[in-house]
């Protein structure tokens, strides 16, 4: 193999409470397309941030072009030739394509003024080399996302990049745009530019990448030729499950429920959200935990959000307890008896400045008040009940919720929903980022709630949790249902098999 352009040696990075990267190494040769994969929390983004100068490693060394380097800011990494293409295009949408391409290094002519004609001409030439023919004077936002992505790529390469890091570049592209992007990536690699390609779309990885590095829980678990690794093995490496491993019982606090032939309480049909969901259908029965499985980016959270109306759907129907929800809004979903625990606890869950008590009663306030005046006594009763039942550990109900640990914040949010007496509970990653003790408690609680007759939808990246917790699993891939497992078929192997199928169209 040729001399590597980028050589990461034993890098570790610790954040308060977590070891985000533990002795990770990675080498990338010129012209290589290197896949970097892993589930949430695997350490991919931390590694990228170290490569681009956002973070500094606690231990280990990054060698670039044979020299040890330590970039202080993203700008230094860029100047040295390591460019990053982000999932969200990081350009200025309102400015023209050419101006975006040349921002900060515009060609100047007489009196030091920008030579607009030359800039537009050169921009056109650069873009043509990338196979896109657009008028470079058009504002960037008038281009499709694929073309925007291409402009970002052109900009990255134009600053003499030797390494281009692409973080989920295709997540909002149309299939045709993906094709063009791939062609460009291959051309760049042909010119000797090394590419680190981060994606959850297995089909893409197999089409594009030479080698793969799999990260899990901050450690490197595999590096090798991608062609020698079949899909099932790759997924099992990402998820940390052995293919041949026998299903183990009793590791989590779950037990099985038999909903039998109970009439579904929730019927979702053909739920469609542009770019994200393509006709998702499934049923949920009371007394049963229905799991939504799939890799990151498969549309699990989007499904839950679209069901409760937090994400505007372009089509499809949702029937709750036999009644169709017409204009879907979160408030309407709550009235219909649904409750959704969002994935992003900080951004969409807690109100940081308010107390534990107020966060718990937030949604139930109208029910705990008379003539619009809140009743403190009723609140205290509810809060006390749920703090006890969920074992929420706080100095007092008046403590600010932002001062609690993640697990206790999650319990506060669960309490917020449970005090509404919902009939259907959608839980998006209820145990992510919380400690082991709280995790088992939350899992036991989910079990208990289902046993009491509640219908539960469980979304989890933790395959073990999903298999142990769910009585039935709907498997999603790329925004579509690719399989449904129930009874004895609910196994990690079956889920992975469903995820590993070749996509029919690509």
């Amino acid at each position: 193999m040729t001399e590597p352009v980028l050589d990461v040696r034993g890098v570790s990075k610790r954040f308060p409470g977590v070891l985000a990267l533990d002795d990770v190494s990675l080498t990338v040769a010129p012209g290589e397309v290197h896949a970097l994969v892993g589930e949430n929390g695997a350490g991919k983004s931390t590694l990228i941030k170290i490569l681009t100068g956002v973070y500094r490693p606690d231990a280990g060394q990054v060698h670039y072009l044979g020299q040890p380097v330590g970039f202080g800011r993203p700008l230094d990494a860029q100047a040295a030739g390591i460019s990053t293409i982000y999932q969200e295009v990081n350009l200025v949408p309102l400015m023209s394509v050419a101006r975006n391409l040349f921002l900060g290094r515009e060609p100047r002519g007489r009196f030091g003024l920008i030579d607009t004609a030359r800039m537009n001409r050169e921009a056109g030439e650069v873009l043509a080399r990338f196979g896109i023919t657009v008028d470079p004077r058009l504002p960037l936002h008038s281009l499709g996302l694929g073309a925007q992505q291409m402009v970002a790529l052109a900009r990255a390469v134009a600053v003499d990049a030797k390494v281009v890091i692409m973080d989920e570049p295709t997540s909002s592209l149309e299939p045709r745009e993906v094709e063009t992007l791939f062609r460009v990536v291959r051309e760049l690699s042909g010119r000797g530019i090394a590419i680190i390609y981060v994606s959850h779309r297995l089909d893409e990885l197999y089409q594009l990448c030479d080698r793969v590095t799999v990260l899990r829980d901050g450690r490197r678990v595999h590096t090798g030729e991608l062609a020698q690794l079949d899909r099932l093995s790759l997924i099992s490496l990402m998820l940390g499950r052995d293919v041949a491993d026998v299903r183990r019982h009793g590791l989590t606090g779950f037990s099985a429920h038999d909903a039998g032939d109970v009439e579904p309480i929730l019927r979702v049909r053909d739920l469609t959200v542009r770019h994200q969901l393509h006709g998702v259908s499934f049923d949920v029965r009371p007394g049963e935990v229905t799991g939504l499985g799939g890799l990151l980016g498969s549309g699990r959270s989007e499904t839950a959000k679209a069901v409760v109306g937090a994400l505007g759907a372009d089509g499809g129907t949702v029937d709750m307890a036999g009644r169709r929800l017409k204009r879907r809004t979160p408030a309407g979903a709550i009235r219909a008896g649904m409750a959704m625990l969002p994935e992003d606890r900080k951004a969409e869950g807690i109100i940081p400045g308010l107390s534990v008590r107020e966060n718990i009663v937030l949604a139930a306030l109208p029910r705990l008040s008379r003539f619009g005046v809140v009743s403190r006594a009723r609140q205290d009763r509810v809060v006390e009940t749920f703090m006890k039942r969920l074992r929420i550990k706080a100095a007092s109900p008046e403590q600010k919720v932002s001062e609690l640990s993640g697990g206790n914040q999650q319990k506060v949010l669960l309490a917020r929903w449970l005090c509404l007496n919902p009939r259907l509970l959608l839980l998006d990653e209820p145990t992510r980022g919380i400690d082991v003790g709280a995790k088992a408690e939350v899992q036991a609680l989910i079990d208990e709630l289902a046993a009491e007759g509640l219908a539960v939808v469980l979304i989890s990246s933790d395959l073990e949790e999903l298999v142990e917790g769910a009585d039935r699993i709907v498997v999603l891939r790329a925004g579509a249902v690719v399989g449904e497992l129930s009874g004895d078929d609910v196994t990690e192997d079956n889920i992975m098999a469903a995820l590993a199928q070749e996509a029919a169209h690509d």
């Binding site: 200025v92 921002l103 996509a503």
Partner: protein, 339 residues
């Protein structure tokens, strides 16, 4: 038995895309040509209705009246394109005038330099506070509004002294001189607008102004000195507001202390009516010029009607402002939420 389904690829959605494209084009059209179109329309209607309107004398009057606001609005355009706002310009304008009149006793050069130095310093200070501490521009410049007015009062014995420009001072030429029957302030305003347009469109600083307002995060990632751009922009706004004050003092032969109250609102209205987005990232110098002239024409028409209260002008500009911003929001909704 586990059932494995395969789903065909996503159906395309041609209809919404078409609609978005059309809306997109409309937004572009409205933004680029809305203000000139309305200006032309207003001039035509006024010319038909009021015989006294389409005369050279009246046009000259509108031009010279508008030139001071135009210079202030020029600086405001830069500030608003960076996504900020400068509420201090009215006070700074008045302060510039008073300082110019005060310094004119030593000749025309101090009369120009003293106000520019002080007003530039105020702009610089505001820019530093905004860029380095992350305080909201509206609150910093609100304090600037108070502070500059306070400084003005301190200079003028609590507003009781009106400094007069010496009658024989060459400084008076600035605001009162004419060339081909048109006042110098008009030429100066036009010159500044040409320079401003070049600065905005043809320099790296100008490009950075757009980038900082359009997407500060992306601008920083692309290596632009975001803080320095912000500081420079508020400095520019302070300088231009001060210079407009200088010109006005020369025209009035004195430093009138009560000028400029509410001028920031007129300037903002002119900029926004001219198609510059109040959220930043897009705008044009020519649009601002149209906005200023439109306000001038409206004021003139209200005066022509004679029976109308002059306060109608602010009602009309308020209405225009809301109309423009609401239309911008509806047309440009897709752009601000790219996904």
């Amino acid at each position: 038995m586990s059932q494995i389904l395969t789903t065909p690829a996503a159906p395309a959605h041609p209809a919404p895309v078409e609609r978005e494209l059309r809306r997109e084009r409309l937004a572009g059209l409205a933004q680029r040509h809305g203000a000139p179109a309305v200006l032309v329309l207003a001039v035509l209607v006024a010319s038909v209705l009021f015989p006294a309107f389409p005369t050279a004398e009246n046009a000259n009057g509108i031009a010279i009246q508008s030139s001071f606001l135009a210079i202030v609005a020029l600086g405001m355009t830069f500030v608003i394109i960076t996504g900020g706002i400068d509420l201090s310009v009215g006070s700074v304008f008045a302060l510039g005038g008073v300082l110019a009149a005060y310094a004119s006793q030593w000749g025309p050069v101090p009369a120009l330099l003293l106000p520019l130095a002080v007003c530039g310093a105020i702009g610089l200070l505001q820019g530093l506070l905004i860029a380095k501490t992350g305080m909201a521009p509206f609150i910093v410049t609100l304090a600037g509004l108070l502070g500059a007015r306070g400084l003005l009062l301190a200079v003028t014995d609590e507003g009781s002294t009106t400094y007069l420009v010496p009658k024989d001072s060459a400084f008076l030429e600035f605001g009162q001189g004419t060339f081909l029957g048109i006042g110098y302030p008009v030429y100066l305003a036009v010159l500044l607008f040409v320079l401003g347009a070049v600065l905005l469109q043809r320099t790296r600083y100008g490009q950075a102004v757009f980038a900082v307002g359009g997407s500060p995060d992306a601008a920083a990632l692309m290596g632009l000195p975001v803080a320095r751009i912000r500081v420079l922009t508020y400095l520019l706004s302070g300088l231009l507001a001060g210079f407009a004050g200088v010109l006005n003092a020369s025209r009035l032969s004195s430093g009138v202390t009560i000028l400029g109250v509410g001028m920031e609102l007129d300037a903002i209205a002119a900029v926004v009516i001219g198609g510059t987005l109040l959220v930043g990232g897009a705008g044009s110098i020519s649009g601002t010029l149209c906005g200023v002239l439109l306000l001038g024409v409206i004021q003139n028409v209200i005066n022509q009607i004679g029976t109308l209260n002059s306060s109608y002008q602010s009602v009309v500009s308020g209405l225009f402002l809301i109309l423009v911003v609401v239309v911008q929001t509806f047309l440009g909704r897709r752009r601000r939420r790219p996904r």
